[in-house]
């Protein structure tokens, strides 16, 4: 598109706008559809971004950290802990291994038993934090060796429940992205319908314009401009409302988990602002295609 044409598309040409009478219902349909679709797109985008964040965080935090629990009689606990630590440090793929201190263990249990817990007098297992390297360790091999050398050790590497969760979060992100594409496609289809209805309603006008020497591009432009601007306006309103909706969601907190994390963070707040121009682009393409097709059918 030449610069002149782009300017005309935005600034418009009052005279050219008058030659095609505005057709009421297609204008409202375009505004409503682009507004509603933009509103949905904001949520799909928020969902996609939030589940992406979640997937990354879970994959990162949970995958890297595992816990080794030493269940042993008090007199063997220290020896087994030492043996386990030695074994772990020799295991390829283990970045570090560290026994929790008594204070740390007390802190972990405090929410359940209170701060004044006499931890030494309880048969609390010793916990060892295992940080996985990259590439990671071979979980099955490690378990076999622990079984042989540290009989009281239980490796809890979360993989049994962590993998499906991360997969679910990733699937959710994909669904969000697919939803955005579907929304764009549905918008294009609806605007094509509305543009075709407007072109059909104005068949006589188009014929007269052709008779007095109007170029196809001139006629198409009158329609394209109108639909593009309507889609832009509708989408801007929809995005505004959608962003307010997302903004009103309770702030993310550790307890809230997934639902409260549904929102935008930092620069991602700018992403929804791309929706109105993209909606206008979709309308521009759909209307141009519809107009060219219909004008091509005329003599």
């Amino acid at each position: 598109m030449s610069e002149g044409r782009l300017r005309k598309l935005i600034v418009g040409d009052a005279q050219a706008d008058r030659v095609v009478p505005p057709s009421g219902f297609t204008a409202q349909l375009t505004l409503f559809v682009s507004g509603a679709m933009a509103f949905l797109a904001v949520f799909a985008l928020a969902l996609s971004l939030a589940s992406g964040r979640l997937a990354n965080r879970w994959a990162d935090e949970l995958a890297r950290a595992a816990t080794l629990r030493i269940n042993a009689p008090a007199e063997q606990r220290l020896a087994q802990t030492e043996a386990a630590l030695t074994l772990l440090r020799q295991t390829p793929g283990v970045a570090s291994a560290r026994a929790f201190t008594a204070e740390e263990q007390a802190e972990l249990l405090a929410p359940w038993f209170g701060a004044a817990l006499p931890i030494d007098s309880l048969p609390v297992p010793q916990l060892i934090e295992v940080i996985e390297g990259d590439p990671g360790y071979d979980g099955t091999g490690l378990r076999l060796r622990l079984q042989a050398e540290v009989p009281g050790a239980v490796l809890d590497d979360h993989t049994r429940w962590r993998a499906p969760l991360v997969d679910a979060a990733r699937a959710l992100r994909r669904l969000g992205a697919v939803s955005i594409l579907l929304i764009a496609g549905a918008t294009a289809a609806m605007i094509t319908l509305a543009a075709n209805a407007a072109l059909a309603a104005n068949a006589q006008v188009i014929e007269v314009l052709r008779l007095v020497g109007a170029l196809d591009s001139y006629i198409a432009h009158a329609f394209v401009r109108r639909f593009t601007l309507r889609a832009l306006g509708g989408a801007a309103a929809g995005v505004g409302l959608g962003m307010i909706g997302v903004w009103l969601m309770p702030a993310a907190s550790n307890e809230g988990g997934f639902l409260t994390g549904l929102g935008f963070q930092g620069w991602a707040w700018l992403l929804p602002l791309l929706i109105p121009p993209l909606g206008a682009l979709v309308a521009f393409a759909a209307t141009t295609r519809a107009a060219n097709k219909r004008l091509g059918d005329l003599t």
Binding site: P21, L211, L215
Partner: protein, 251 residues
């Protein structure tokens, strides 16, 4: 006739200009043209040349194919056989944009006028300027003069459905000349008007011809042709049995 008293025409408006005539060129030429809407041949082996500045009447009974022949001349229909040339271009070979440009060079008064009913008369007359992207502010004086010439100054802001038959025809004529075409093709311009108005429209066409414009008028009104022959050298073509024949002696 009060309607005709709008003073002698001054050729100041640029719509009155005509491209310099090149000797020997033909404005519109039909060569062995045949046409068929699908149910048998309507026109067959029609040949005619419109020289620059000539005045032609096209006559024949209703349904003979007058409108069809005019449409072939300005490219709204493509002949089923033969060729149509306009301004030395093969009309069949033109693409859609070239066809639009051809329509700016041929002023057409359609049988049913064809206005945009949502726009006032003045904008309908200016429509060819608007779609050609001309700046209307610069053309305003021209437009006013043209409105005055066809006697519609008082009706500039009326909507087309509010016009009488004669006013519609004059508005359509004004629209056809606004881009100062070299040729004006009028399809039954006096079809729906009384005798006085038909004389007035004829007067306008004769004035345009005197400005040098090539005129082709389809009509079945013999009295109109007789009246015209007193004022200009007009040739009469008649469609008869799918053919185009020169008439004249019998008028």
């Amino acid at each position: 006739m009060a309607a005709l008293n709008h003073g002698p025409l001054k050729l100041t408006g640029c719509w009155g200009k005509t491209a310099e005539r090149k000797q020997g060129t033909v404005v519109i030429e039909l060569e062995n043209v045949g046409y068929n809407y699908g149910g048998g041949e309507l026109l067959s082996d029609v040949s005619v040349k419109l020289a620059p500045g000539s005045f032609h009447f096209l006559t024949g009974p209703s349904g003979a194919g007058k409108t069809t022949l005019l449409k072939l001349c300005y490219g709204a229909l493509t002949p089923t056989s033969g060729r149509v040339r306009a301004f030395n271009m093969d009309v069949q070979g033109l693409d859609r944009d070239q066809m639009a440009h051809l329509r700016r060079r041929v002023g057409v008064v359609h049988q049913d006028c064809r206005f945009l009913d949502h726009l006032p008369v003045i904008e309908n007359i200016a429509l060819p300027l608007i779609v050609a992207g001309k700046d209307l502010a610069q053309e305003e004086a021209n437009l006013r003069e043209l409105l005055n010439w066809v006697g519609l100054s008082q009706r500039a802001d009326a909507l087309p459905p509010e016009l009488s038959g004669g006013e519609r025809q004059r508005a359509a004529l004004a629209r056809s000349v606004i881009l100062s075409p070299d040729v004006i093709i009028a399809d039954e311009p006096t079809g729906n008007v009384d005798w006085e108005m038909s004389q007035r429209l004829l007067q306008l066409l004769v004035e345009l011809n005197r400005m040098g414009k090539t005129i082709l008028v389809a009509t079945h009104d013999m009295a109109l042709i007789r009246a015209a022959k007193k004022q200009v050298q007009a040739r009469v073509l008649r469609i008869s049995a799918k053919q185009l024949i020169q008439a004249g002696a019998d008028l």
